[in-house]
């Protein structure tokens, strides 16, 4: 208010400084109120300014992960490699790898997971148990049969255990809670070891 009044009159040196300060304050206030929940801000920071190591060229470091997709001609899982942003933790990389798995194949393979599935969180415990929390779309996006349900579960399990040294077995949860099955077949209440018997040679 003060700044506005002074701006109408003669502009003096100190007034200019004051109005500048007031403007900064106003911007800060707007940012503070329009920023929304802390979560949103954190997510923004997380996605765009990774605290990952940088290559000498200034580009963020990536790592290669192997994803497991289905194919039209057999019921095996097929490998496809992809670059994901590296670090800072294996859990972060695991989330990115699974997000890529959901996004689908770049070489015409079939996606074993409903495309609208979101990877909510991956937590890796010290004993090697990774807990993967997925959005409800993973269960509601498909009407599963035994074969497609096994493919969905083991695509996730194999992708994690194959790529991440700290992961030995995997538990799947949906919307943060334990769930019996995705579609009435595969038991989700126990941890899975990988099954590379389902993977094409």
């Amino acid at each position: 208010m003060t700044a506005k009044k002074r701006r109408k009159g003669k502009i003096t040196g100190p007034a200019l400084v004051l109005s500048g300060l007031a403007l900064v304050l106003l911007v800060l206030v707007i940012v503070f109120f329009s920023g929304g929940g802390g979560e949103k801000v954190k997510h923004f920071v997380d996605a765009n300014i990774p605290k990952s190591p940088e290559t000498p060229g200034g580009r963020p470091a990536t790592r290669t992960v192997t994803l497991f997709f289905a194919a039209e001609d057999d019921d095996l899982l097929h490998k496809e490699t992809r670059e994901v942003l590296a670090g800072p933790t294996e859990a972060d990389e695991a989330e990115r790898a699974l997000a890529e798995l959901v996004r689908g194949s770049e070489s015409g393979l079939l996606s074993p997971l409903p495309p609208q599935t979101r990877v909510r969180q991956v937590f890796i415990a010290k004993d090697g148990l990774a807990t993967v929390d997925l959005s409800r779309d993973v269960a509601e996006g498909f009407t599963y049969g035994s074969t497609s349900e096994l493919a969905a579960v083991y695509a996730v399990v194999d992708t994690l255990v194959y790529n991440f040294k700290s992961v030995k077995k995997v538990v799947l949860t949906v919307e943060g809670a334990e769930r019996e099955t995705l579609g009435g077949h595969v038991d989700l209440t126990r941890a899975f070891f990988p099954d590379y018997g389902l993977v094409a040679k």
Partner: protein, 249 residues
């Protein structure tokens, strides 16, 4: 401590197994997969897995009752939601001799086709596997040392692992049923497989899950919806059961 409890639970289980094998009348429990809001897989022509599994199950029930004189209990005889643990509890409460879960398969590959029969995979830790192997070799000696007082936790572990004691019989049953499906259906034989299926984990008798054909494959969906094919599936499973019972359990 947890290991001890699992061990104790497995001992109790062996006792339960021994008690359940009294010669009286014998019961087969048939489990029509899915039901109610839980439709299972869906075909392009709108057929639902839950309806096909119920039709085949009713045909199989009639066949067994007519030809074998066994009592047959269905986990559902209508379009009904039945929780997984209720399905295995029905088998255990009736002291079932055999448990057959009937399903129609679904895959993301439209071309996927054929029949297959599953039995439970031992998705157990090394420690649990070691315990079970020990119990299999020492069951008679250990049965006499079971404390009959059991708490609820222990019972939960007990039933959670129930099927583990029957893996060998379940494998043989799967093989015989799949052999008959292959002989009768004229579709691709996908063989016998192991998988961690929830409905099988708590069943305390030989148990299999039959995938008759793929509802996600338009050709097979039409077969599955036909009375003739459903009858063939029921007949094949029935023949497999007969061969299993005839060649000793």
């Amino acid at each position: 401590m947890k290991i001890f409890r699992i061990g104790a639970a497995a001992l109790l289980l062996l006792a339960a197994v021994a008690a359940a094998q009294s010669p009286a009348e014998r019961t087969v429990v048939i489990d029509p997969g899915h039901g109610g809001l839980e439709t299972g897989a869906k075909g392009r022509f709108g057929n639902l897995e839950k309806d096909i599994t119920l039709s085949i199950s009713l045909k199989l029930k009639a066949l067994i009752e007519k030809e074998m004189g066994f009592e047959v209990v269905l986990t559902r005889d209508r379009d009904l939601d039945v929780p997984m643990e209720t399905r295995s509890a029905i088998a255990n409460n009736h002291k079932a001799a055999l448990f057959i879960s009937i399903h129609a398969n679904g895959a993301v590959q439209k071309k996927a086709a054929g029949s297959e029969t599953f039995f439970l995979s031992l998705n157990a830790t090394d420690e649990e596997t070691r315990r079970l192997a020990y119990l299999e070799n020492n069951s008679t000696e250990l049965q006499s040392r079971i404390d009959p007082s059991t708490d609820n936790d222990l019972m939960m572990i007990l039933w959670d692992m129930a099927q583990n004691a029957y893996i060998k019989q379940s494998s043989r049953l799967a093989e015989l049923v799949q052999g008959e499906l292959d002989a009768m259906l004229g579709t691709r034989n996908r063989g016998i497989k192991q998988a961690p299926f929830k409905v099988l984990t708590g069943v305390a008798c030989p148990a299999i899950l039959v995938e008759a054909a793929f509802i996600s494959n338009p050709d097979e969906e039409q077969k599955l919806a036909s009375d003739a094919f459903q009858t063939k599936v029921a007949e094949a499973i029935y023949r497999g059961l007969v061969r299993y019972l005839r060649t000793g359990e």
